[in-house]
């Protein structure tokens, strides 16, 4: 039970590491997009799924990472420093918003984060002396498909490992207890604010790094591709579809959503968004638990609730 998932994960990692040698660049680029989506979905899910704070503004960390790294790369900074700066700024932003935003609950938290990412998108379009505005930011490092592919694969592996560890750790338990009942969690000695802040900062760090990677790979970003509604909502859809609050769920969701969207893009000229919208509606109606049924979490929740009463 414990060894099987680890072996399976290692085997998958080896397969994906070997794939670029045998397949076309189109497929490598597609897999890279799936990896970045999966990284975002998994890091979103720490806050949104495990902890139960619906963060509609996860894209703000991705965008801050992308723009910071992009601007610094353009200024001639080495890659490592530019990425580090992007991560640091995303984490600093998470720390900055954590105090005021975590006073909000439920729909109000979702609303504020929704407004936040829209505000950042507008700022990125309007501060054109810094970001290049709506014409976008172009960097001259060259198209880095294979480098970005391996970097994303390694980052994804790290994120999955972290999530698997989280699922067994005290911190993971604290997250779930906050989701189930924050007051009770506090009464049982969970420092709710510290845990929430830590989770948000960790998810911001991962999203910021993914943003830097994305900018470095594409060498061109505009506000809509890093802060847009699609980037903001995509990770939530993926996590929900696959199974929020699980290790496999967001990965499965990212893969399914990206494959469906790619097929739609290639096969239908019109109304691709309509089909995508219909899928969102169906997921919301029929699959709130996701494809990967989170049995373990349910049992955990029951146990917690029993302990609470």
């Amino acid at each position: 039970m414990r060894r099987l998932p680890v072996l399976l994960g290692l085997a998958l990692f080896a397969v994906f590491a070997g794939l670029p040698y045998v397949t076309t660049t189109y497929r490598v680029a597609f897999l890279l997009a799936v990896f970045i989506a999966a990284i975002l979905a998994q890091s979103y899910d720490w806050v949104g799924g495990h902890m139960g704070y619906l963060n509609l503004g996860h894209a703000s960390f991705f965008g801050i990472g992308a723009y910071t790294s992009g601007i610094l790369l353009k200024a001639g900074w080495p890659i490592g420093l530019a990425f580090t700066a992007g991560v640091l700024l995303a984490v600093a932003f998470a720390l900055l918003i954590s105090y005021p935003f975590f006073r909000l609950r439920g729909a109000y938290f979702a609303l504020a984060t929704f407004g936040l990412v829209a505000l950042l998108e507008l700022l990125a379009s309007n501060l054109s002396w810094l970001t290049g505005g709506s014409e976008g930011l172009t960097i001259a490092t060259g198209y880095q498909l294979y480098g970005a592919y391996y970097a994303a694969l390694i980052l994804l592996a790290l994120v999955v490992t972290a999530t698997a560890w989280l699922a067994r750790s005290r911190l993971g338990l604290a997250l779930v207890s906050i989701r189930e009942d924050e007051e009770v969690a506090g009464a049982f000695g969970v420092n709710a604010y510290a845990v929430k802040c830590l989770a948000l900062m960790a998810s911001a760090a991962v999203a910021g790094l993914a943003g830097g990677l994305y900018c470095w790979y594409l060498t061109y970003i505009i506000p809509a591709t890093v802060f847009g509604l699609d980037v903001a909502i995509g990770p939530i859809v993926m996590a929900m579809l696959g199974g929020s609050g699980t290790v496999v769920g967001p990965l499965l969701g990212a893969f399914v959503v990206d494959v469906v969207r790619e097929v739609l893009r290639l096969k239908t000229q019109y109304l691709a968004l309509t089909v995508y919208g219909a899928i969102l509606v169906l997921v919301g109606l029929f699959l709130p638990g996701g494809l990967a049924e989170p049995h373990r979490w349910r049992r955990l929740a029951v146990r917690l609730r029993r302990r609470a009463t």
């Binding site: 949104g48 139960g52 619906l54 509609l56 005021p100 935003f101 006073r103 909000l104 609950r105 439920g106 729909a107 109000y108 979702a110 609303l111 504020a112 929704f114 407004g115 936040l116 829209a118 505000l119 507008l122 700022l123 379009s125 309007n126 989701r179 509604l229 909502i233 939530i236 859809v237 929900m240 929020s244 019109y270 109304l271 691709a272 968004l273 309509t274 995508y276 919208g277 219909a278 899928i279 969102l280 509606v281 169906l282 997921v283 919301g284 109606l285 709130p288 638990g289």
Partner: protein, 286 residues
């Protein structure tokens, strides 16, 4: 000074246009606790229907009002029955996520189908009345007339909420869900009425919108965000609050776009939204 007065009047008139949709969203959020992302799209569709009536049968916007309201009342009722009712029993967090996914999916589908069905993407009606001049200040008499109609409609809704059984029921559910159930109010019907009414009011705002400003299929989500900012500003479920919030947002947008730059006018809504949420986590009057 003269410019300033002109900007104030423009802002108040713009706020009047926001008020109907904001109140629609306020009722829906207050009764159903649904964060309705598709809300701005009802306005867009209402505008499109008005435009279609105008071009095919040359029906003026006044008549369109009488068509749009019942059509979207029925439409809202159907959306509630088919898409919101099935998830109503979910636990709190799942309900929140599911409702956002469903209304977002609906919004994407509505905008995509509308863009697909249109020959020209942008629609506007040329309807002109001579402007009103008071001294050196010019007021659009069309906007003034709309404001009068909107005020009349607002009084109508106010009376509905105060006097009629279902109006009182809606207010009771907003105030205390369990208490309303204990008092024998059917939450299911109240939800359907609230959703239908909210949808119809917003689509009605589209009638005014399309007569003043061109409407294109993708105005929905920015509008939804503005509406959310307004109801958070004015307090969920409060009719005077929605009206006041709309006027404040209209004024702020009008002043900012003149003194700071038109591209910044949308940031006002988001700044207001975030600032109010942070200062008063449950809304100004919540």
């Amino acid at each position: 000074m003269q410019t300033f007065v002109q900007l104030l009047i423009g802002g108040i008139l713009q706020g009047g246009i926001y008020a109907l949709g904001a109140f629609g969203l306020s009722i829906i959020f207050g009764v159903l606790r649904v964060l309705n992302v598709a809300h701005g799209d009802y306005l867009m569709l209402g505008g499109m229907l008005t435009y279609w009536l105008y071009t095919t049968w040359t029906l003026p916007p006044w008549i369109a009002l009488l068509v749009v309201f019942p059509v979207f009342f029925a439409g809202g009722f159907l959306v509630e029955r088919l898409l919101i009712r099935p998830i109503a029993g979910m636990p709190h967090h799942e309900f929140l996520v599911a409702s956002i996914l469903i209304t977002l999916g609906l919004s994407l589908a509505i905008e995509d189908v509308t863009a697909f069905a249109l020959v020209q993407p942008v629609k506007g009606i040329d309807y002109f009345l001579p402007p009103l001049r008071v001294g050196t200040i010019v007021v659009s008499s069309l906007r003034l007339l709309f404001l009068a109609i909107i005020v009349a409609l607002t009084i109508g809704i106010h009376l509905f909420l105060r006097r009629s059984f279902w109006g009182k029921a809606l207010r009771a559910v907003m105030e205390d869900r369990e208490g309303a159930m204990l008092a024998g109010i059917d939450i299911g019907t109240a939800s359907a009425v609230a959703f239908a009414l909210g949808t119809a009011l917003t689509a009605t705002a589209g009638v005014f919108f399309v007569t003043l400003i061109p409407v294109d299929p993708h105005i929905g989500i920015p509008l939804t965000l503005k509406y959310l900012a307004i109801i958070v500003l004015g307090g969920v479920g409060s009719l005077p609050g929605a009206l006041a919030g709309s006027v404040v947002l209209g004024l702020a947008e009008s002043l900012v776009s003149f003194y700071v730059g038109a591209q910044w006018s949308l940031t006002v809504a988001f700044l207001v939204l975030i600032a109010i949420l942070l200062l008063r986590p449950r809304g100004l009057l919540g």
